[in-house]
Amino acid sequence: MSIPPLVKKIYFVLFLSPLLLFLNCAPQEAWQSASFLSFDTVCEVHLRCPRSKFHLAQEEVQRLFVEIENHFSPRRQDLSSCLVIGLYRRALDFYRQSDGCFDITVGPLTRLWGFLDRPYRIPSPRELKNVLNLVGMEKIKEYEQNLILDPGMELDWGGIAKGLGIDLAYNALVSMGVDRGYINAGGDLACWGKNPDNEDWKVGINHPRRSGYLGILSISGVAAATTGDYQRFFEENGIRYHHIFDPRTGYPAQGKQSVTVIGPEALVCDALSTALFVSENPEHILDKYPQYGSLIVDSEGKISILGKPYSFRLL
């Protein structure tokens, strides 16, 4: 029995066109980018996902970064917040593992040298000696979910908080189903999945003295962070004074131009890059973190690759 044309038309309208409509409206994945200001730097988010999801993803990343800034910026520190206590415990572990080379109590040094509020200045040995009495994580006490600092002590989370922000953002994005992309917060980075060319992400490491790149990392599923003496510094009488202090002496750490650390967690990369920069024996510290590798440029420009090897091409 043949179906009348009118019935065919009705069948099409009722059943097939909604199906076609649904298929056409299925969210299309594409590469999306955003750049915004946070942590006093330009942050980038580059993801492969539907457009509607990207807006939510970007908002979530920005919300997390603002949360981190609110908890850890120099002028706003709530020493009873769970986030702060949690990060303090991680920082204490790095302090112990690095024999004091990583230390969040260098806030008074940062302020003394003028890196918090200008102008930059070189303090006298006497001033440094007085301030060093306020430095040392062993002086912090934890009591009933509160951190207790001695009068005059100040916490500088600059070597670790951004890494925490990157890790939180990465976890949020992955749980939203974004399986390819990177987040770059002014040099602290996490990348996962394949890049638009279906290869590992090509991450250039900026040369510490010249414009251009020192080399290119080829990585995926890991984080990376760089600490360098060219990021914040002033010069006087031909000598460079930068912002990475040796907590033991109160002076800017000597002997290196930059340290890049690569590994599973951005927070660890961030802290280790500072610790290795300060330490005279970086291999000793890195041995305790077997999943992490590093690239060190010393003060002469000589490059050393330590720890777990990651794909790196020198330019």
């Binding site: 999306q32 980018s33 955003a34 750049s35 915004f36 200001l37 330009v42 980038e44 580059h46 807006h55 970007q58 920005q62 990177y182 770059n184 040099g187 602290d188 980075l189 990348c191 890049n195 638009p196 060319d197 992400w201 090509k202 991450v203 250039g204 490491i205 900026n206 040369h207 510490p208 010249r210 414009s211 251009g212 790149y213 020192l214 290119i216 990376a224 962070a225 760089t226 360098g228 031909g238 930059s258 890049t260």
Partner: protein
């Protein structure tokens, strides 16, 4: 060198004024302006002082366009150990010369990050006096443009525009385009052409974005903070992103 003398010259020389206004100054760029009929006699002395103050990375130079004075400057610098490259991307600075409408007193000054930089040195003081000594006025300005940032970066093909962190547009640098972007605080106008993009107008008060050099190399950015506006030259497939 005394900046007051430069500004006396500057005010008396309309062409220099419009020349400076047309140059897009931005962070990381520096220029040397020298008014003298014989730049080949004095340029190398000034460059030597700039080297001592670590304002020059490498002893290399190139020329922009061509002028009758190039040959004499070229010979003089080569004799003093400078290296010439035809490709300006490989050099510390690019030289150009221009004739002024009127003759003025010889002078020189250095502009860094948009500000006149006072370099105090005995050699430059003597040079200044030497240039002024015989009272002879000059109608030639020689400009050395130091722009080391770009050397190792490839040229981009696309510019991304972000407002409040969201990408709102993507411009081809090959096509001639003019667009205005509205923000909550006002608007920013962008022009793209000939491989570069620049901010042509902005509602902000300082107009630093308008004075920024046109962006053409991968990763270069022009920011208008009051308008939450960012223009960035997209990177080539050379790298996806960078750290450090």
């Amino acid at each position: 060198m005394d900046r007051r003398h430069f500004f006396q010259t500057f005010l008396m020389t309309p062409l220099v004024g419009s020349l400076m206004a047309s140059i897009r100054l931005s962070k990381g760029q520096s220029q040397l302006y020298m008014i003298t009929d014989s730049p080949q006699d004095f340029l190398w002395i000034i460059l030597q002082e700039l080297e001592k103050h670590h304002l020059i990375e490498e002893r290399s130079f190139s020329f922009s366009g061509s002028s009758a004075f190039e040959k004499a400057i070229y010979k003089s610098l080569l004799q003093k150990g400078w290296i010439y490259y035809p490709d300006p991307l490989k050099t510390s600075f690019i030289l150009s010369s221009q004739l002024l409408l009127h003759s003025v007193n010889p002078s020189f000054t250095f502009i860094k990050d948009g500000n006149v930089l006072d370099i105090r040195s005995r050699n430059l003081s003597s040079l200044w006096k030497g240039m002024q000594k015989d009272g002879h006025r000059s109608s030639l300005v020689t400009i050395a443009c130091f722009n080391t940032k770009r050397r190792s970066l490839p040229r981009g093909r696309w510019a991304s525009v972000y407002v409040y962190g969201r990408q709102v547009d993507r411009l081809s640098l090959k096509k001639k385009t003019s667009k205005t972007y509205l923000t909550k605080q006002g608007n920013v106008a962008v022009e793209a052409e000939g491989g570069q993009a620049k901010v042509s107008e902005s509602s902000c008060s300082q107009k630093i974005c308008c004075l920024s050099a046109p962006a053409s190399f991968c990763g270069e950015r022009i920011i208008c903070a009051p308008n939450h506006f960012l223009l960035e030259i997209e990177r080539s497939s050379f790298v996806d992103t960078s750290i450090g």
